[in-house]
């Protein structure tokens, strides 16, 4: 067999990755390789001359190597056809796609080329050595992904350590009002699972905890967890609220995205799990004053379960598998000045609106504009959401805020279109006389029942405008919104009472640090990198470490849940069989070469069927 290797780079930036010269040298010395050519970045290929070359050289197989070499494959395939060779014998050696991204992964790149040359799929040859696996599992992050994964594994009778950074599990989903497209309330479907987690005998729930350090090898990790003091005994607390009623401090509530306030000792929300109060160190007067002032909650607590002097605790757990489900944060809308978020009181982000329209939110689900109130304590006028406030007569929803934009995040956040439509529905449902406008670029309603939902929203009388609004300014107390209505070929400029910004998703803060601790890479946008985009969307380069949900890339609830269960499968697979995969980094070039050689025998040409 006579093989030729062609190097071409699709992406100039990514070209800086592996050391192409040394890979080329290596390729030249591989058996069967008769020619190696470097075609540079985005080469202009024309099949005809290639065909001639193939004919002259009598080539049986071409290997196209580089970052995303698939961009050039069709040219080679056609060349093979023109030269009368088997067009299926064009093999890809995709560096980036197979994890050879940086300079120190040149060896990996060589292995990828070696596999392609011998016509063996890389993932078939590149299988790390198996390791024995400790039966316990660590799940990091207790949003819906973490909860789902933890429950599935625990239901199989395996021990799960579920750690969560905040004081309660539930994540973002617990903040939502309704969920698209079926509009059943998020609480109704999530709280049972939260309760189940709280009650499950196989789940060890550690809230207010973060991964501090990771030691050990795949299958046997020793993880040190830093546990912030809750300062309230969750088992003793009966959530009687005596403490919070006594607490003199009020600060914006994180759970309500700052549109409502809480005390320094508080419950994130009524259905929180663990269902107990906790003390916010940053705002607690006692702690800030070093025990000098206040401490009234301790005196008020009928069960004496508050210990304001409780300290940080380091917990070490031994686990075989680690599941990353750290989820996402929302894009900081203040970074886009022209939308005036943070300047105009009635420009809200999606999450703020979720809380506003939520039955358990500060206005009991009434959609109202902010009203100016005099705060006696601070002696200042403040904008507040008053349940008796004025409902907006018109609401504008702007899609793709911080997404699909080179100046911000170039990627699509995947969920915004649908939740924006959901908002439109909620507005029209609760305020039938109000007008609602959606400014979108592409209506990405791709899931099961989504397109139908989008149609329904239009029928409900929401004005759906194709064209992203450019600016928001204030005009006599109302918000003046300006944008192009492309489909009706006209400019729009009209006042509204409320603007909702469909902010995109960004990786949760600290995800990069966690990734570094665990040796899990992140892509250019900061999302955790999966092992293989298509084949292994929930595995990672590091053996025994899995990713689930939005921390791997924006996702809606069904896709997140599916991934969480998939991860559970991965963990259970290795637990039940007692053997798990090691890390890719432990693979030696020689191993892969050897394996590729033995597999090459009996590895026929590509499956070509179903025509």
């Amino acid at each position: 067999m006579r093989v030729a290797v062609y190097f071409c780079q699709e992406n100039p930036e990514a070209g800086g990755g592996v050391n192409l010269d040394s890979v080329a040298k290596y390729a030249a010395n591989l058996p069967d390789v008769v020619q190696v050519k470097s075609l540079g970045v985005r080469p202009k290929l024309s099949p005809e001359p290639l065909a001639v070359e193939i004919g002259e050289q009598g080539l049986d197989r071409l290997v196209v190597a580089g970052d995303s070499p698939g961009y050039f494959k069709p040219a080679f395939t056609r060349a093979m056809a023109l030269a009368g060779r088997d067009p299926a014998e064009v093999r890809l050696a995709s560096f980036r796609e197979h994890g050879a991204v940086s300079h120190d992964q040149t060896e990996r790149a060589k292995a990828i080329v070696a596999c392609a040359v011998s016509g063996v799929p890389f993932w078939l040859a590149a299988v790390p050595k198996f390791t024995t696996v400790h039966p316990d599992v660590l799940v990091v992050g207790a949003g819906i992904a973490g909860i789902q994964a933890a429950l599935e594994i625990a239901d199989a009778g395996k021990r799960v350590y579920l750690i969560e950074r905040t004081g309660t599990i539930g994540g973002h989903m617990a903040m939502f009002d309704k969920t698209f497209p079926t509009l059943d309330c998020a609480a109704c479907i999530l709280t049972p699972k939260m309760v189940a987690v709280g009650q499950h005998e196989m789940i060890e729930l550690l809230t207010m905890s973060e991964v501090e350090a990771v030691a050990g090898l795949p299958g046997d990790y020793r993880v040190t967890i830093r546990r912030q003091p809750r300062r309230v005994d969750p088992d003793a607390c009966v959530t009687c609220a005596a403490c919070s009623e006594a607490c003199p401090v009020t600060v914006p509530s994180e759970f309500d995205c700052g549109i409502a306030s809480r005390n320094a000792i508080y419950m994130p929300f009524p259905q929180a799990v663990p269902n107990a109060y906790l003390v916010d160190e940053a705002s607690c007067r006692y702690i800030q004053s070093g025990g000098e002032k206040c401490g009234v909650c301790v005196r008020k607590c009928p069960k004496g379960c508050i210990d304001l002097d409780q300290g940080v605790e380091l917990v070490e757990v031994q686990v075989g598998s680690i599941v990353l489900a750290t989820g996402y944060d929302v894009y900081d809308a203040t970074r886009i000045e022209r939308y005036g978020y943070g300047v105009y009181p009635n420009v809200l982000t999606a999450l703020e609106f979720e809380r506003l329209t939520n039955a358990s939110g500060p206005t009991s689900g009434r959609i109202v504009t902010q009203t100016l109130r005099h705060n006696k304590r601070t002696k200042r006028d403040e904008w507040v959401f008053d349940p008796a406030g004025e409902p907006p007569a018109s609401v504008a929803i702007i899609h793709c805020v911080g997404s699909r934009d080179h100046n911000h995040n170039s990627y699509c956040s995947r969920v915004c279109c649908m939740y924006s439509l959901k908002f439109a529905h909620l507005v029209r449902e609760k305020l039938p006389d109000s007008a609602c406008f959606e400014f979108y670029i592409d209506m990405r309603a791709f899931g099961k029942g989504y397109e139908e939902f989008a149609e329904r929203i239009r029928e409900e009388g929401t004005f759906v405008v194709r064209g992203r609004s450019g600016k928001i300014t204030e005009a006599d107390g109302r918000l003046l919104i300006r944008g192009e209505d492309i489909l009706s070929d006209s400019m729009l400029e009209f006042p509204v009472d409320m603007v909702l910004l469909s902010v995109g998703l960004v990786p949760a803060h600290g995800a990069d640090r966690l990734g570094a601790l665990l040796g899990v890479g992140c892509d250019d946008d900061g999302w955790f990198s999966e092992l293989d985009y298509n084949g292994d969307p929930t595995d990672t380069e590091r053996g025994g470490v899995f990713v689930a949900g939005a921390c791997q890339g924006p996702k809606d609830i069904p896709d997140t849940v599916a991934q969480a269960s998939a991860v559970a499968a991965g963990a259970l697979r290795s637990i039940l069989s007692g053997r798990g995969y090691g890390s890719m980094s432990t693979l030696l070039l020689s191993d892969i070469e050897a394996r590729a050689r033995e597999l090459a025998v009996g590895m026929g040409p590509a499956a070509r069927r179903g025509d």
Binding site: C400, G467, G470, K471, E484, L487, S488, D489
Partner: protein
């Protein structure tokens, strides 16, 4: 009747500087941030669309490119780096070449070498011509008065000749512009603008020409200021040369009544040109990011003219008449190509097209149905409403 898409047009426009137009995914951001995008005149997005689709007829009839002053905001906010501002600029270049009957402009924009050679050629001819004139009838040692190397009255006549040529060339192109944007379009949708309106609104041309009023409405003010100074200086200079050349050239004493204007204008020209050049080198401001070769040629030419103009004036005052005369010839070698080439066929044509565009865009809504056939040409846009 459906219009045929021409995917090749964007390749052609690339030569005029529109490199990124294909990146646009039509979010409408640019139109929304542009203060001029209003009512019927929606741009830059719509123009970008016409360009992507290669609808030449439409583009040729569009006035929008002239209504954009390239403040650069749309380009800064563009989510896809499609450079709407630069696209509008390129469309202006393209339109200039379309309006031009001779095809020279098209040649210049597609090959800067050709433009350069043409300028050099004309400059050479001018130089030779004036040297002959000088040596035949005058004395190199005399700058002014009897026996002057280049007597002002002759140069003056020459200037008027120039002006006539210029007006004719530019006039024809302006007429074509009118035909493309008003005449043909009007016919297409069976309307015409009554002559009365043309007369009533005619003041708009000088108004916009002098004040650049529209430009001042852009978010960024500085480009407007710079442009205004440059333009006013240029016009002042033109007036001085056209009507007061005698007293301009007179010397060596300084005749403040005229020269003070000369100094102001010269200063204005030099400063703004240098400012523009600096901008195009540093590329900090959006509207200076991309420079077409023609932009550089234009600036360099203008600078030479200004500098030589000042220099000959100084030399004359310094009593170095011979040197002054030589520099004067060089000066004319710059002026002439500028007038016969740049103004009608090059970047400078916009000083005519822009105010005209304002004028026409003001007139278009005033069109009335012609007695003949009346039917709208655009498909009525479906209402955005309860779609």
């Amino acid at each position: 009747m459906a219009t045929r898409v021409n995917p090749k047009l964007i390749d052609d426009l690339e030569i005029y500087g529109a490199q990124d137009v294909s990146k646009c995914y039509h979010c409408g951001n640019c139109s929304a941030v542009c203060p001029f995008s209003q009512g019927e005149r929606i741009f830059p997005r719509r123009s970008m669309r016409h360009l992507q689709l290669g609808l030449e007829e439409r583009l040729q009839a569009d006035l929008e490119p002239w209504l954009c002053y390239y403040c650069g905001e749309c380009s800064e906010d563009c989510p896809r780096e499609a450079e709407p501002g630069e696209t509008m600029m390129s469309l202006r270049r393209w339109l200039t070449s379309r309006y031009d009957f001779s095809g020279i402009s098209r040649l210049f924009y597609r090959s800067w070498k050709a433009e350069l050679w043409a300028i050099l050629l004309v400059a050479l001819l001018t130089g030779v011509g004036f040297l002959l004139l000088g040596f035949v009838q005058g004395d190199l040692e005399i700058y002014d008065g009897p026996g002057a190397f280049l007597p002002s009255h002759i140069v003056h006549w020459f200037d008027w000749g120039m002006a006539a040529v210029l007006v004719i060339l530019l006039g024809i192109n302006c007429a074509r512009m009118w035909w493309f944007t008003m005449g043909k379009e009007g016919r297409a949708n069976g309307t015409h603008v009554p002559l009365g309106q043309y007369l009533a609104r005619a003041f708009l041309v000088p108004y916009h020409f002098i004040t650049q009023a529209r430009y001042s409405r852009c978010e960024h003010k500085r480009p407007w200021a710079v442009h205004l100074v440059l333009m006013l200086s240029y016009v002042t200079m033109l007036v001085l040369i056209m009507f007061f050349l005698g007293s301009m050239q007179a010397g060596p004493g300084i005749d403040w009544r005229v020269h003070v204007f000369g100094y102001a204008a010269a200063l204005g020209l030099v400063v703004t040109v240098i400012f523009a050049m600096r901008g195009r080198v540093t590329r900090t401001e959006a509207h200076y990011k991309h420079s077409h070769e023609s932009d550089w040629i234009f600036l360099i030419l203008l600078l030479t003219v200004a500098v030589t103009g000042i220099l000959q004036h100084i030399l004359h005052r310094a009593g170095l008449d011979a040197a002054a005369n030589i520099v004067y010839v060089v000066h004319l070698m710059g002026v002439v190509p500028m007038l016969v080439l740049e103004v009608p066929f090059g970047k400078w044509a916009h000083m005519a097209y822009r105010p005209l565009a304002m004028y026409f865009s003001d007139l278009q809504p005033r069109a009335v149905p012609s007695r003949s056939r009346v039917e709208p040409v655009r498909p009525a846009g479906a209402s955005s409403g309860r779609a």
